[in-house]
Amino acid sequence: MRTSQSCAALLALLVNGAAFAAPPLPAEQLSIEPLPSKSAHWVYVIDEAFFNEIDARVRLFDGDSYRHLGQIDAGFSPGVIQSPDGGTTAVATTYYARGGHGARTDVVEFTDNATLAVAGEIVLPPKRAQIPPTYFNVAYSADGHFVYVAYITPAASFGVLDPATKSVLAEIDTAGCVLVIPSGPNRVSSLCDSGRLLTVTLDSAGHEAARALSEPLFDPDADPVFIQGVPSPGGYTFVSFLGQVHSVDFSGAQPSIQPPWSLVGTAERGRWRPGGSQPGAINAALGRLYVTMHRGGEGSHKEGGTEVWVFDLKTHQRLARWPMAGSRLGAVTAVQVSQDKAPLLFAAGDHGAVGIFDALTGQLRHVDKNLGQTPWLFLNP
């Protein structure tokens, strides 16, 4: 016994001695971490921070390494969009001079996506639509020369901005039609109470040159569409409360409305429905549509999906039903899919956790519980 105690003491002395003999750690230098090279598997997570809503933020997250790469501040009830070249994040938001109160400043802030530093701003009239994030709160023209911002006061209009000169060029009255759906270098469409699209064409100075109303896209009384349109080849796709899919080709001078089709069969209609804050996502190369689906009735359109349904955009066939029950996410209120050929599906649960799935197989790869309290929208890089 005494011998073993002596051996232990000798061993401890030798180990400690070796530790003391090792060279000390070098001094560290405080630095700013550079962003790694952009990946198709990055995602911008827009956290409305609804429980302290003046402090919304955008978190940049890597779906491969599961690392938080950085943050963009987003103020109160923001709209967020990427520039066509992917180099800039535009955040249309509101700040109050004294934090929770005080003078209101509406502004579009531009963040350099290479550094995540704010690179400029345009102060707006205090009219910005303070609504949950969609693709159409703030938008770029296809050539990046104009930025459009939806206004609601509650009169509806939109602002036309020049991101090069950091100036407001014009305000266009939209006669009750809302949001800014961009197309081409100079066209903005808005969703109307009648179910039609109003399209305003701008001149080179950003002023109105022409306007036209489309044929009805949907029936707002019988089956309204979610305003969270999904980018799709040539335009955007809108899913309705009852599961109709309305695709619009915006590549021409006026929107071209495609024949609608249904996510649900006759027996499922009115029973299984899309729902949530970002109920659909499309991988354009694969031609696949992902939709959050739940069993529910009238008034359940903000409930998250207990399943994600996958569809082929050409055949309209349902390829898969992925139950979310085992994912620890709860009901899924927002989905986004990366645009590469080995895509990831990002899914936000109704308690704020974000799941990363293989978008080909539905296999859950990871759950992150620290991407914000209310992650209501995902944007691809």
Partner: protein
């Protein structure tokens, strides 16, 4: 200022100067009763729930009401519970959990002059009421009793039925704090 804004502000100020809140509410209730009655008839939740029980693939009742019958009745009488009958299309923090009540704003906040409108069924007297959902403004999010119910709620393009937009938008201090539900009148005569 946009001409529509100016018109809206002028008419709102003029109305506020000429009428009391109660008479405004009564007038609006009368005006809305005729025009909104038919499209706002309440859905039959009882039959839906029965259908759900009989058919495993039928539409499930909304998750916020997925509680036992006895508890549901208690919840529908409790203004601090999301199941309270007047909250059928409210989306936000209940002012009754924030220093106000189901129809009053907390101290130090400001009422939104513009609102969205719903029709809710009161199971106690079996009547349908038109309710105005106002936001209370000027302080940051209350954060208590988050409640999201959407019976007959419509997307943003049907603005007067939408509960997503910040209805404090026209206030001088437009920050959103919490929401109330104010009875305007009966939805049936």
């Amino acid at each position: 200022m946009h001409p529509l804004d100016r018109l809206f502000e002028k008419s709102s100020r003029s109305l506020a100067q000429r009428t009391s809140r109660r008479s405004f509410v009564a007038l609006l209730g009368q005006a809305l009763t005729g025009s909104l009655l038919l499209p706002l008839l309440p859905i039959d939740r009882v039959s839906r729930a029965e259908a759900a029980a009989a058919d495993p693939d039928a539409a499930a009742p909304p998750s916020h009401s997925a509680i036992g019958g006895g508890k549901r009745n208690v919840a529908r009488d409790d203004p601090q519970n999301c199941e309270y009958w007047k909250y059928c299309a409210i989306d936000g923090f209940l002012c009754s959990c924030c220093g106000g009540s189901s129809h009053s704003c907390p101290p130090g906040t400001a009422m939104s002059p513009i609102t969205w409108i719903g029709t809710c069924h009161n199971p106690a007297d079996r009547r349908d009421y038109i309710v105005s959902y106002n936001d209370c403004c000027g302080k940051t999010s209350c954060g208590n009793c988050a409640c999201n119910r959407n019976e007959r709620e419509k997307p943003l393009y049907r603005l007067s039925r939408n509960n997503d937009v910040n209805w404090c938008m026209a206030n001088s201090d437009s920050n959103y704090h919490c929401s109330v539900s104010v009875i305007l009148g009966l939805a049936e005569q």
